[in-house]
């Protein structure tokens, strides 16, 4: 056994190579913190709700701190506990960070990575410092001084223990000298957005009224949503999930539309043995379109209230139009089954049996939501819009006739054509809208609105016939000048030619008049049938 060595490259893939997105180190350290806090609560060191995670982002000092008031790590086991890689004593079924590798994610991002911890009741604190610069240097292939992983770890770290108040218990991660290419880690707003989206924090009850429905529902189901107080810098308010009752839909600024969540719908999935696999909620709104607010859009999957993957992870469960469909919804799915494991990168689940069950059930759920809300409402709104537009277009034609603006054959034929298309569209929209109105699931308000519009359409359809007659009977110059043997297309052409002549001879209208007279007399000879 002694012959087996781990080359130092192993370290690279477990630390710097682990996460493609540097922001994920926040998630990793918060996870560690929540585990510590849970432990502290369990052992009675702090009361429920007293756990706090404090994050400091100092742009000037290029320093990040993540500190919690959890139980800390005892001085006795700290050495092994914090140096061993992938051998976390944590029970993966209970704890969020279970692989014991997350904590090294900070390596490669800064000059120095320190872990400082003190266990409750011990008057000692343990300090472990990783020299980031040295670590990178040792890992480089050109560096032949050290070859094994153990050698690198020993060369790049310092371990010491110092005196500390016995009362104090904490775990603190400090990253000093963040490398310039990872400046985003120091952008306070960016960090806030990341934490609000990913961290296991609560809803802002003042801004998201429906939290008063959601939290009790989960609590009553025996699965309360676990939340922690996460503070950023010296802000007084903890970080909250950025859900709001009101939001905007649509892609372009011009077409954005205000919408709001009217009520919350819940859904659950169980395994065959009856245990709860997941419980989700989503907001019922007008479903005008895709949600433009990136804090809120999409159904998001969380385990232990920490986001798994991103805002698009749920998209795959929609059998078609995945991303597009998901963005229409606002909601969360909390998964519970211990066998549903986030992969090492935490951007997805491990593919196993439990995942297959989840996938099957959520696909059914997604299709149901899509069918009931998005498709119907998308159709509803587009039909309402289309009918309204076409009714307006009809009014426009009416106005043009009334203003005497229809004098040429070209214009007349164009309006006749327009009218025909509007009518056709109205008829098909009317049919579709009638079908939608008959749907039981449609909200009464919408039904009434659609009914009113349908009535308007009916009246308009009757008027169309009159309008059409008026358009056809409209006197035009060409009607008088050309024999009926000339077709409609020929009349339009004649019209345009005469128009060209008059615009060409604008300075000498008499020439135009004479030319026109000549043309009329030449064309008087009837065309052969």
């Amino acid at each position: 056994m002694a012959d087996i060595n781990f080359g130092k490259q192993v370290l690279e893939s477990l630390t710097i190579g682990m996460y493609s997105d540097p922001m994920t180190i926040y998630r990793e350290y918060i996870q560690n913190s929540t585990d510590g806090i849970d432990k502290a609560i369990k052992s009675g060191v702090i009361g429920a709700g007293e756990g706090v995670i404090h994050i400091i982002v100092d742009k000037h000092k290029r320093r990040i701190e993540v500190e919690d008031n959890g139980s800390g790590v005892s001085a006795e086991v700290a050495y092994n506990d914090l140096f061993d890689i992938g051998n976390s004593e944590k029970d993966y079924r209970e704890n969020r960070g279970f692989r014991g590798i997350g904590r090294l994610g900070g390596l490669g991002l800064s000059s120095k990575l320190s872990f400082i911890t003190s266990f409750a009741g011990e008057s000692k604190k343990t300090i472990i410092e990783w020299d980031g610069d040295k670590f990178l240097d040792l890992l480089s292939i050109d560096n032949k001084k050290v070859e094994t992983a153990i050698e690198v770890i020993l060369a790049a770290t310092q371990f010491r223990q110092e005196a500390e108040d016995a009362d104090k218990h904490y775990f603190k991660v400090v990253l000093d000298g963040i490398y310039p290419q990872f400046n985003e880690l120091l952008d306070e707003n960016g960090v806030e957005y990341y934490l609000a989206t990913v961290a296991p924090v609560d809803f802002d009850a003042q801004k998201f009224i429906h939290s008063k429905t959601i939290n009790p529902e989960y609590k009553n189901a025996g699965k309360p949503i676990e939340t922690y107080n996460v503070y950023l810098n010296n802000r007084k308010k903890p970080i909250y999930k950025q859900y709001r009752s009101a939001f905007k839909t649509g892609h372009q600024e011009r077409s954005k539309k205000e919408d709001y969540i009217q009520q919350i719908e819940f859904f659950e999935g169980h395994k065959e043995d009856g245990t709860l696999l997941y419980k989700g909620w989503y907001g019922i709104s007008n479903f005008y379109g895709s949600v433009s607010d990136k804090f809120m859009c999409g159904i998001r999957i969380r385990k232990g209230n920490i986001l798994i993957g991103g805002e698009n992870t749920f998209s795959r469960f929609f059998s078609s139009e995945g991303d597009v469909a998901n963005k229409w919804f606002i909601g969360e799915v909390h998964v519970y089954d211990p066998h549903l494991l986030p992969n090492a990168k935490r951007d997805d689940f491990e593919r196993n049996e439990a995942y297959e069950v989840l996938k099957k059930l959520l696909t059914i759920q997604a299709d149901k939501m899509n069918r009931e809300h998005r498709r119907v409402m998308s159709n509803y709104h587009s039909k309402i819009k289309s009918v309204t537009t076409n009714l307006k277009k009809l009014d426009d034609i009416k106005a043009q006739i009334a203003n005497g603006k229809v004098s040429s054959e070209v214009k007349r034929e164009k309006l006749i054509q327009d009218k025909k298309e509007i009518e056709k569209k109205l008829a098909s929209d009317q049919k579709e809208l009638t079908r939608i109105v008959e749907r039981e699931s449609l909200d009464e308000t919408y039904r009434n609105r659609a009914k009113a519009l349908l009535k308007q359409t009916e009246t308009a359809e009757k008027e169309v016939v009159k309008l059409e007659t008026e358009l056809i009977n409209m006197p035009t110059r060409t009607k008088e000048e050309l024999d009926s043997s000339y077709s409609r297309a020929e009349r339009k052409l004649y019209d345009r030619i005469i128009e060209s002549i008059y615009s060409f001879f604008i300075d000498d209208i008499s020439v135009a008049d004479k030319l026109k007279e000549k043309i009329i007399s030449d064309l008087k000879v009837k065309k052969k049938s």
């Binding site: 016939v465 009159k466 056809i472 009926s484 043997s485 009349r491």
Partner: protein, 550 residues
């Protein structure tokens, strides 16, 4: 003037006689007339001085309105469009409102002043222009006959009939000699005569009418040989050189004539000869030059076999007015078939008497209109059909029954359900008749199989799932019919009623809130096709065989 005549694109048997008369009228004035069936984009692209659009049944309302509006833009003013015909006469205000056309002609076009001309010509009395039918690809199944009226209107005012509204006044309008002569001269002789009189026996001129018809070549045993119309067509082509359609008709006639030449070598020779003429620089001139030679060919290969000629009073003869005397006069004509209406079971005795009178006058082929879905009960349909079956056997005549489903003349669709009928029964009758194209012929074995031996069986057949009715033998062979029967017979009357309403697709019937009774559940699966099904073709055949055997 440029005149467009339009008939909406529904499928109909008889050509639009009103338009054919208007065509004759306008052509007599030297106008350019074109006939269109349905919506013709090319014609609509042109501008017409006049467009006449005919209408037919009220249940063709939507296609009619659509067609009118389609042509609306092909005039300089909508006042140049005239709409007439049956539907237009029955619902003129609806047509005006839904099409925006104000010129809706009601009833017959008895004066050209009605269409804005001072010459006061009775267009309705004008002969038909058969030429115009060749402007369209549509072939009217009964297009190549003489059509005529000798009377208009009807003194009866039957509740189901549109005639009192369309032709309120009963009068004799016998132009038969004039009309048929005109047709013979201008289009060549036709074989049969269809008379569209509503109630010929009411005419005080019956004797004269029959004599006129006989004079025109329709006595008993009269025969017809297809005429050679070459010179008629040539004359018209010469007279209307500016309208190429005449020359085209002539050429088509000559080319089509090859069908009479059976011997391939002669046919090839003939075609070679004709093609050499029509491909010359001036075909009309060439045809004129070689007209005798052409005619020799045509005369030689003309179909010289004589065929019997028939007169058909297409609208039926009123059984109640039939006497041995008037039938004796009528039967001087080669009537085939004699159509007798059997609108009500209450007329049973008069009807049977009428059939006997016809039989005694030597008439063997009878046809029979049976109105249902009005005030009648479903049993009355079965009774009347059965009476015909009995008469067939007793008298050795052939009575073909045409059950005619009543539809009110003020409806724009065909969805009406009579007081004593239900949707399921109506569609079942249609399904039974499907196999025979609407006719119930004479054979008793067919009738009892198709409609049942008694009321009980009849209602059971009407209640069967549609496939079970159409593919009777197949489902019986599969044993499914028996299974259905067993399940159906266990239902209570109340359940049966619900079932019929439900499978008939009534609007107000939906699945009940509570669970269906097990009986209904058992039966319903036969309608929703939750049973094993194999090859469909095999038994449809044996059903048809029975029909054929008959």
């Amino acid at each position: 003037m440029r005149i467009l005549l339009v008939e909406p694109d529904y499928k109909n048997k008889y050509p639009p006689m009103g338009l054919m008369k208007i065509s004759t009228y306008h052509k007599s004035k030297g106008d350019y007339v074109v006939f269109a069936k349905g919506k013709n984009k090319k014609l609509a692209e042109q501008i017409w001085d006049r467009i006449y659009i005919t209408t037919l049944f009220t249940f063709y309302y939507s296609i009619t309105v659509e067609t009118i509006r389609f042509y609306k833009t092909s005039v300089l003013s909508t006042n140049n469009i005239y709409v007439g015909g049956i539907l237009a006469s029955l619902m003129p205000e609806d047509i005006k409102k839904d099409t925006g056309i104000d010129n809706v002609l009601i009833g017959q076009l008895t004066s050209s002043q009605m269409i804005g001309f001072d010459d006061n010509v009775d267009v309705d009395a004008m002969p038909l222009d058969y030429d115009m039918l060749e402007d369209v690809d549509y072939k009217y199944p009964a297009g190549d006959n003489y059509f005529a009226y000798t009377t208009r209107g009807c003194p009866n005012k039957c509740s189901f009939c549109a005639v009192p509204k369309l032709e309120p006044e009963f009068r004799t309008v016998n132009h038969i000699i004039k009309q048929l002569t005109y047709i013979n001269v201008n289009f060549g002789e036709k074989r049969n005569l269809l008379l569209l009189d509503n109630n010929i026996l009411k005419s005080p001129d019956l004797r004269k009418i029959v004599d006129d018809i006989k004079k025109m070549g329709f006595h008993k045993g009269a025969t017809y040989t297809q005429p050679n119309n070459f010179f008629i067509l040539l004359r018209k082509a010469n007279e209307n050189a500016e309208d190429e359609r005449h020359l085209q008709r002539l050429i088509n006639y000559l080319l089509d004539y090859k069908k009479f030449i059976v011997y391939p070598k002669s046919r090839a020779e003939y075609l070679l000869f004709i093609e050499s003429i029509i491909e010359s620089e001036n075909p009309l001139e060439a045809i004129n030059t070689k007209q005798d030679e052409i005619n020799e060919w045509l005369e030689k290969y003309k179909d010289k076999r004589p065929k019997l000629r028939y007169v058909d009073f297409n609208q039926g003869i009123d059984a109640r007015l039939m006497t041995p005397e008037n039938m004796a006069i009528l039967s001087e004509l080669p009537l085939n078939p004699v159509r007798i209406a059997f609108d009500r079971l209450a007329d049973k005795d008069k009807y049977i008497k009428a059939v006997n009178i016809a039989y005694k006058c030597g008439i063997k082929e009878l046809s029979n209109y049976i109105l249902y879905n009005e005030k009648d009960r479903p049993t009355e349909l079965w009774d009347r059909l059965q009476i015909n079956i009995e008469l067939n056997e007793k008298l050795d005549v052939h009575i073909f029954s045409f059950p005619m489903k009543y539809m009110p003349i003020n409806r724009k669709d065909r969805e009406y359900v009579g007081k004593h009928w239900c949707k399921k029964y109506l569609s079942a009758v249609t399904a039974v008749l499907l196999v025979t194209k609407g006719i119930v012929a004479g054979g008793s074995s067919f009738f009892y199989k198709a409609f049942g031996n008694n009321y009980e069986e009849y209602f059971e057949i009407l209640s069967m799932p549609r496939e079970f009715i159409v593919y009777r033998f197949k489902y019986e062979e599969l044993g499914l019919t028996q299974q259905w029967q067993e399940a159906f017979r266990q239902l209570t009357e109340c359940e049966k009623k619900w079932l019929l309403d439900y499978v008939g697709g009534s609007v107000f019937v939906s699945m009940p809130e509570e669970k269906l009774s097990s009986g209904l559940e058992n039966v319903l699966k036969f309608y929703t096709r939750e049973y094993e099904l194999e090859d469909r073709s095999l038994c449809a055949d044996s059903w048809k065989q029975l029909v054929k055997k008959k």
